[in-house]
């Protein structure tokens, strides 16, 4: 490293934002160069001066802010959890226990799914309520109000409440919710968990289709890897192979590409050879390049095309 390069990087050096190698080079240079050592001392002095110039808001301002916020909060309603967040809330209970059991026993996973009952199935409460306390205004919505005579009224409320469903992953209702959750665009964690459960039932055409969709379109690599795992026994299926070949050439995640190679390689075909050769034209991951070369070699295919 030259003196001008070292001096330029000194602030990043002091912030600890250089790579290990860059830091080594700066340290070695500074050890041997008196001029740059002086420059580093000046930089440290500058940092100390900047430290001293920081203004810290006083405790009174913080107290004022907190009090003001409390007043404002009293006037607004927070956004409630979405439908799928409620479902996820239910999943949380389940996933602490069930995936391990499911893997060990290969048995049906028991699910605990929360869902908004009344948002989907508007409920009415004719007559005897347990009193106003059973209704939580924050999570319910008055649909309409109707006088019923004798000074009484009837209020129809759409209640938002969480329910828990328990059942096997083979249950139709559970599957339907899992399939929907596996495509929830807003919640990658929920998709990972859902696909993780669904992948154990790839013999269902609907589930296999969902896994293929996830492999090809899910923006989260963790979801794609789970879905690939579920497809491992279908690598000889032509539709699956076609989709995986496309994934091999387009997926930006090296882990996904590696897993696709693992799935496809036991089922050699001309199309696959072509895809692997095409991959070699643009692949910049050394590990994957080595893997592809090995697979092509095992297939007695040319590795010189590229």
């Amino acid at each position: 490293m030259r003196c001008d390069e070292v001096r330029k990087t000194l602030p990043l050096f002091l912030y600890g934002e250089l790579s290990f190698d860059e830091e080594e080079q700066v340290e070695m240079h500074v050890d041997e160069c008196a001029g740059c050592r002086d420059e580093l001392d000046r930089e440290k002095l500058l940092f100390r001066s900047l430290d001293q110039a920081a203004a810290v808001p006083g405790p009174d301002l913080l107290r004022e802010c907190r009090a003001g916020l409390r007043q404002q909060l009293a006037q607004v309603q927070p956004q409630q959890e979405s439908f799928w967040e409620k479902i996820r809330g239910g999943f949380t209970i389940h996933f602490h226990f069930a995936p391990g059991l499911a893997q060990l026993a290969g048995a049906a996973a028991m699910l605990a799914l929360g869902f908004f009952g009344a948002r989907m199935m508007p409920g009415s409460f004719p007559g005897a309520w347990g009193g106003a306390s059973v209704i939580d205004p924050a999570t319910s919505h008055v649909r309409y109000v109707e006088p019923t005579g004798a000074g009484k009224i009837q209020i129809v409320v759409d209640e938002t409440r969480q329910r828990t469903l328990s059942g096997s992953v083979d249950d139709r209702d559970i599957q339907r919710l899992l399939l929907a959750a596996a495509k929830d665009p807003a919640d990658a964690g929920l998709r990972v968990e859902s696909v993780d459960l669904l992948k154990n039932r790839p013999e269902s055409a609907e589930i296999r289709s969902a896994l293929l969709y996830a492999v090809q379109h899910d923006p989260n690599a963790g979801v794609r890897l789970k879905a690939l795992d579920g497809l491992k026994n279908f690598a000889d299926d032509s539709d699956t192979r076609k989709a995986l070949t496309q994934v091999l050439l387009t997926d930006d995640n090296p882990g996904v590409r590696t897993q696709v190679i693992d799935l496809l390689s036991p089922h050699a075909s001309d199309a696959m050879v072509g895809a692997l050769q095409e991959l070699m034209l643009k692949e910049d991951n050394d590990y994957i390049r080595t893997r592809v070369q090995k697979v092509l070699h095992e297939m007695n295919a040319s590795v010189d095309t590229y």
Binding site: R42, A55, P57, D60, L61, V76, P78
Partner: protein, 196 residues
């Protein structure tokens, strides 16, 4: 382990707050609000503006917490809100041109220079003067940075955030944040060169 425990506690607080637990929300605010206020105060140099940013930021958090999905850390999400508000304020109000070392606080107006401790200068009028001039120059050079450079510099130097995290907060790459910090420090060094 301790950090994991803290993170778990925060996740629990967030989930409780998402379910409408006001106490959990208040605890969540208190975990972060001093740093939020410090960032806004340093960037905007006005107690009133910092208070506005503080309240608007946490109100937005409160209203939108239901849609927070843990795709990033809560800290990153919160700082994204705060820095966006600060950047907007810096751009709209052209704070850079209006800045002086005098700031408004809850106790009245206060010269930022009086808040700067300098033990070296204590008891030595000549050095006190030098120190004061240096600090004025620092404030001027900070004010001369672009809002983005200023924000990155504040978050790295005064809040101690890593460039990777700053990049996430500002919706840019670590490399872009690094370039921004580099430009900021170069400008500061040039402006303060004859003092240091």
């Amino acid at each position: 382990m301790a950090q994991a425990a803290v993170q778990m506690d925060e996740s629990e607080l967030i989930r409780s707050a998402q379910r409408g637990d006001q106490d959990a929300f208040e605890q969540l605010v208190r975990l972060h609000d001093q740093n939020v206020l410090r960032l806004a105060f340093n960037l905007l140099r006005s107690a009133e503006d910092a208070r506005d940013i503080y309240q608007e930021a946490f109100l937005r958090v409160y209203k939108n917490l239901g849609s927070f999905r843990f795709d990033c850390s809560f800290h990153t999400w919160l700082y994204r809100i705060v820095t966006n508000l600060c950047l907007d304020a810096l751009r709209k109000r052209k704070v850079r041109r209006e800045e002086s070392t005098v700031v408004e606080t809850g106790e009245g107006t206060l010269d930022r220079m009086d808040m700067v401790e300098d033990s070296r200068a204590f008891g030595d009028p000549q050095r006190q003067l030098m120190s004061r001039q240096l600090n004025e120059r620092i404030q001027d050079s900070l004010a001369a940075l672009t809002p983005r450079e200023r924000t990155v510099f504040e978050m790295r130097h005064y809040q101690g955030l890593r460039l990777k995290n700053i990049g996430e907060i500002l919706g840019t790459s670590e490399e872009a944040a690094k370039n921004c910090l580099f430009r900021a420090t170069q400008k500061m060094r040039t402006a303060l060169g004859d003092f240091i």
